[in-house]
């Protein structure tokens, strides 16, 4: 391993890789937070007693879970500009639109994350003991109060392990956004490899960084579960 390759400044690739890592992390965090929120909303729509809404959301989520991430990324990156142009054409605004790559990537990853998170949240909401909800109602809690104090906290606790797994999945999908030209970690590592012909070292460094992030996520998971389930511990 040649450490000079990873130094900062004009000769090394350290600063470029750091910028790539910054983009990857911003993309991952934004997609995961947006996706989890969307997934929660979608799960509520799926369990809500509204005819057709549940079916519709289920179908959309099922499709998003069945097609490759890359397909969704391309569809949003190419499609959003055309959809926007078609939408604005009646108002006399014509022209070519360039959709921001970063937000295209975020939207695609967030939608896929939401499709899986919705499944996790739905299972969690259905697993909340009916007795607890009955008890809350018997105490005279309004539906809003039952939701915010009983159903949501309990469901969230049940959903936690599934949600952390999804964090890992989405994190591992982030390199796919380099297909629409985002200068993320793997793209920078590829450029560095092309320049120096040391592909193996740079991709190995990328791998180590991703495994390091995975280890941190796993550590946070065990920490948060320790906290969330502290009332269930014997001591």
């Amino acid at each position: 391993m040649d450490l000079a390759l990873f130094s900062f400044g004009a000769t090394g690739w350290g600063d470029e890789l750091l910028a790539g890592l910054d983009l990857t992390l911003r993309l991952a965090v934004t997609s995961i937070l947006t996706g989890t929120a969307l997934g929660l909303v979608s799960a509520l729509g799926e369990v809500a007693p509204v005819p057709l809404l549940g079916r519709l959301l289920e179908t959309v989520n099922m499709v998003l879970r069945s097609v490759p991430e890359l397909l969704v990324i391309f569809l949003i990156y190419y499609g959003a500009a055309i959809a926007l142009a078609a939408l604005l054409a009646p108002f006399g605004i014509a022209g070519l639109f360039e959709i921001n790559r970063f937000w295209s990537g975020v939207l695609a990853l967030a939608l896929i994350h939401a499709a899986y998170a919705s499944e996790v949240f739905r299972g969690a909401f259905l697993a909340v003991p009916v007795g607890e909800i009955d008890a809350a109602r018997a105490f005279g809690m309004s539906p809003v109060l039952v939701f915010s104090r009983i159903r949501l906290p309990l469901a969230f606790r049940l959903a936690m392990p599934g949600l952390t797994n999804l964090v890992m999945t989405t994190l591992k999908s982030t390199p796919l956004v380099s297909a629409i030209g985002l200068q993320d970690l793997i793209r920078v590592a590829g450029d560095a490899g092309q320049n120096t012909k040391e592909y193996f070292q740079f991709y190995m460094a990328t791998l180590v960084i991703y495994l390091g992030i995975a280890a941190v996520v796993l550590l946070l998971q065990s920490r948060s579960e320790h906290r969330l389930y502290r009332h269930l511990r014997t001591r």
């Binding site: 069945s66 991430e69 397909l71 591992k172 982030t174 990328t206 791998l207």
Partner: protein
């Protein structure tokens, strides 16, 4: 208009050629993943710490690494191994398809190892003891009791993993292979209509996923005939 019938008809052969590549990659990866994962699953359950440690590292490595990183490492890393270009294996791996299948198989094997090892561990101990008490040899016990039981236990998870393999094959676009996504992309560059090819490709993927899940359901019926023989009392759930 989201779907254009004329475009679809014109470019259907392109999309079909891409679908064939996607199906090939999926099939070979499923086989390759199984070949790699089976011995490691046994190592994962071994009593000696050495093999167990190796299997656990393998699983952590390939489950934690993004598929694209693994693919790039194999694609760019293998040619850098000294002497490999003179060795006979080079003839086999100098093309992108075998490299893609190798990388996809390694990635899938990381997940499959856990599925298979878990299924093997969960075969009821009483059944194994009973088989041993009947005088079945270790090999017979494995072939008649452990293997069928574990297959039943692993089937559902294996079906889900197969869907992930199918979705994962799309990364081959990064190493110049034109699969179903790549074909849709080509049609877009020729027509500037992203919706027709990408929706058509999506429909193809849905059909393949449905076929896979149907196959798993059929296998489940075959392997657990008693569970489907009489109407279950828990039907209304």
């Amino acid at each position: 208009m989201l779907m254009d019938a004329a475009t679809l008809l014109d470019y259907l052969p392109v999309l079909l050629a891409g679908a064939v590549i996607t199906l090939e990659l999926t099939l070979f990866t499923l086989i390759g993943g199984l070949i790699i994962a089976l011995p490691i699953a046994f190592a994962r359950n071994a009593e000696r710490p050495g093999p167990r440690w190796f299997a656990q590292s393998f699983v952590f490595f390939f489950r934690g690494a993004p598929l694209l990183v693994v693919l790039y490492l194999v694609y760019y890393g293998l040619p850098q191994i000294p002497g490999i270009k003179e060795s006979p294996v080079w003839f086999l791996i100098a093309r992108p398809m075998p490299i893609a299948i190798l990388a996809l198989s390694l990635n899938s094997a990381g997940f499959l190892t856990e599925i298979i090892a878990g299924a093997l561990r969960n075969v009821p101990a009483g059944e194994i003891e009973a088989a041993r008490a009947f005088g079945l040899s270790r090999l017979q016990t494995f072939a008649r009791i452990i293997a069928p039981n574990a297959t039943r236990l692993a089937l559902r998870a294996y079906g889900n993993e197969a869907v992930f393999v199918l979705k994962g094959t799309a990364v081959v676009n990064f190493i110049t292979i034109t699969d179903l996504v790549g074909a849709a992309n080509q049609v877009y560059f020729n027509t500037f209509d992203p919706f027709t090819p990408l929706f058509a490709a999506g429909a193809f993927y849905l059909v393949i996923v449905f076929a896979m899940l149907q196959l798993v359901r059929w296998a489940e019926r075959r392997l657990n005939p008693w569970a489907f023989a009489a109407p279950s009392r828990e039907r209304h759930r």
